[in-house]
């Protein structure tokens, strides 16, 4: 944790809502898909920044996985978040990306505890147009255990071309959702609205998530 990060912790006593984005930036995303993904990410940033409470509470981290897994943005409150621009290249190391997201969340929770900050259940939001090219079973098992004990909430969204059967073996608690192309922006706005709901919830509240009808294919 940088000193700047520590200062951020000290001056903002709001409870934190951590959200990790796992974004597929493999070669197959090149062209329209990656451009729309980047646009969506910026819409996500703008929408959350427009909510004064959420911008102090939601913390975003962004991993891209394309060839390598890169932490494009470590956890930061939305008010200090600049959406990174992703470039498409390489294969799809999804298993490693999931593992590193879970590691990052564990570290972040420890940081919150040290700083005496309250926090909400972290979200991991994965978007992919393919299937993992690395060893993913161990990461999927770990993810299942973590979900089982309530450590994270995991969502998987598949873009056209994604292997939904395989995604369902990774996202076991919640079946993967199919993105209506090219509704990246609507999807990210749903995510920011959801994070607003989560970060505004009071003890004892049940979080009501907005409808995903505008961007997700309804399973038939």
């Amino acid at each position: 944790m940088t000193q700047l990060d520590e200062i951020q912790m000290a001056v903002n006593p709001e409870p934190r809502a951590p959200c990790v984005l796992l974004l597929d930036s493999s070669y197959s995303m090149a062209g329209d898909s990656i451009a729309q993904l980047n646009d969506g990410l910026r819409a996500f940033e703008e929408d959350l920044k427009g909510d004064s409470q959420a911008s102090q509470r939601v913390e975003v981290a962004v991993f891209s996985f394309g060839g390598t897994v890169d932490l494009m943005q470590d956890f930061t409150v939305v008010s200090a978040f600049d959406a990174p621009t992703l470039m498409a290249s390489g294969n799809t190391p999804m298993g490693e990306a999931i593992d590193r997201a879970l590691d990052l969340i564990e570290d972040r929770k420890a940081t919150y505890k040290r700083a005496n900050l309250n926090y909400f259940r972290p979200w991991v939001f994965l978007v992919t147009d393919g299937a993992p090219t690395d060893e993913w079973q161990a990461a999927a098992d770990r993810l299942e255990r973590e979900e089982e004990r309530g450590a994270v909430v995991f969502f998987a969204v598949g873009v056209d071309g994604a292997d939904f059967e395989l995604l369902a073996q990774i996202s076991r608690k919640r079946p993967p959702v199919k993105l209506l192309n090219p509704r990246f922006k609507e999807m990210f706005l749903w995510l920011s609205q959801s994070q607003k709901q989560v970060s505004a919830s009071r003890p004892g509240d049940q979080v009501q998530l907005p409808s995903s009808d505008g961007w997700a294919e309804v399973p038939t």
Binding site: L117, R202, P203, G204
Partner: protein, 310 residues
């Protein structure tokens, strides 16, 4: 002294009143044969308090789901706060029942058996209060999770302070030097939006309880979590001295009547400064020891002290 000046500066405007926010009538001393008194002794404690509907509840048309009461006894007080869960359909009813059940046990036991002899006895009484709250909620016959609420119960009686807490909220004690501390700890889950309710299966194990001598306690405040953003330093986990210092001083100040203080409190809790920090219902109950003179008249001595009937 920002709070006091804020309190005093506020001009009484009828429009500022929220009928939901007017404090529930303080229950009369439960002993029916008690002779009428000009002064309620309450062991020398003076109180103000109210629950005020939050802006989000007002906007959504839901009632104030914080419920609170102060029961004045000959030798002390029972104070209780319940915060009905946002996810519960009958949150206000559940909170009301929880308070009723807890106070009935506390007041009934103190009248029938007198004060418990030792700390273990007090602790048992606290557990019985929580069980009484649970029974009263279950007696409604609904699915209990639709009646979920948190519960704070504080008993100031003779020279004892006994407090039980289920779920979040704060019970803050002030000592003679002006030191402030949370008497009990909120039972929380790992996540901020999780808490324990009277209706949770783990309500007894996760309850925080405290029994201690009350000699050094000069002020006590109970608040629901709706106020914690304003009144507490959450990161440090302690009450905010800038809030409670002036608050206890104001409640102690004899120049305003308690009716005036109650109205000032309602206005404070419904003020722009508070509402911009929280949209939730909020409750604040405050008890302070009276002045030394009052204490000599009606204070810590035995209840039969003839001077108490002055």
């Amino acid at each position: 002294m920002r709070l006091v000046s804020a309190l005093l500066d506020m001009v009484w405007r009828r429009s500022a009143w929220d009928p939901e926010g007017i404090p529930e009538p303080v229950a009369k001393e439960a002993r029916p044969s008690a002779p009428p008194r000009r002064h309620r002794p309450t062991g020398g404690w003076r109180t103000v308090g109210c629950s005020v509907r939050g802006t989000s509840h007002r906007a959504a048309g839901t009632p104030c789901e914080d419920v609170s009461t102060i029961v004045a006894l000959e030798r002390g007080l029972v104070l209780a706060v319940a915060d009905g869960a946002g996810s519960a359909a009958w949150a206000r009813l559940g909170a009301t029942r929880a308070i009723g059940g807890a106070c009935e046990v506390a007041v009934g036991r103190l009248f029938r058996d007198g004060a418990p002899a030792d700390a273990e006895g007090w602790d048992r009484l606290l557990i019985e209060c929580l069980q009484g709250a649970r029974r009263a909620v279950e007696a409604e016959g609904e699915a209990v999770h639709e009646l979920a609420s948190t519960l704070l119960v504080a008993i100031l009686y003779d020279d004892t302070l006994a407090v039980a807490q289920v779920g979040d909220g704060w019970v803050v004690a002030e000592d003679r030097e002006g030191g402030l501390r949370a008497v009990t700890r909120p039972a929380k889950g790992e996540y901020f939006n999780e808490t324990v309710f009277v209706t949770s299966s783990s309500y007894l194990e996760s309850a925080s309880r405290s029994v201690e001598p009350a000699e050094e306690v000069t002020g006590l405040a109970l608040l629901s979590d709706g106020l914690e953003m304003v009144a507490c330093e959450l990161a440090a986990g302690r009450p905010h001295a800038g809030f409670f210092g002036p608050l206890f001083a104001y409640v102690r100040d004899p120049s305003d009547s308690s009716a005036v203080k109650c109205r000032a409190l309602v206005r404070l809790l419904d003020s722009e400064q508070v509402n911009c920090r929280t949209s939730d219902d909020k409750t604040l109950l405050v008890a302070v020891r009276g002045s030394r003179l009052e204490n000599q008249v009606s204070g810590f001595g035995p209840a039969q002290d003839p001077r108490a009937d002055r």
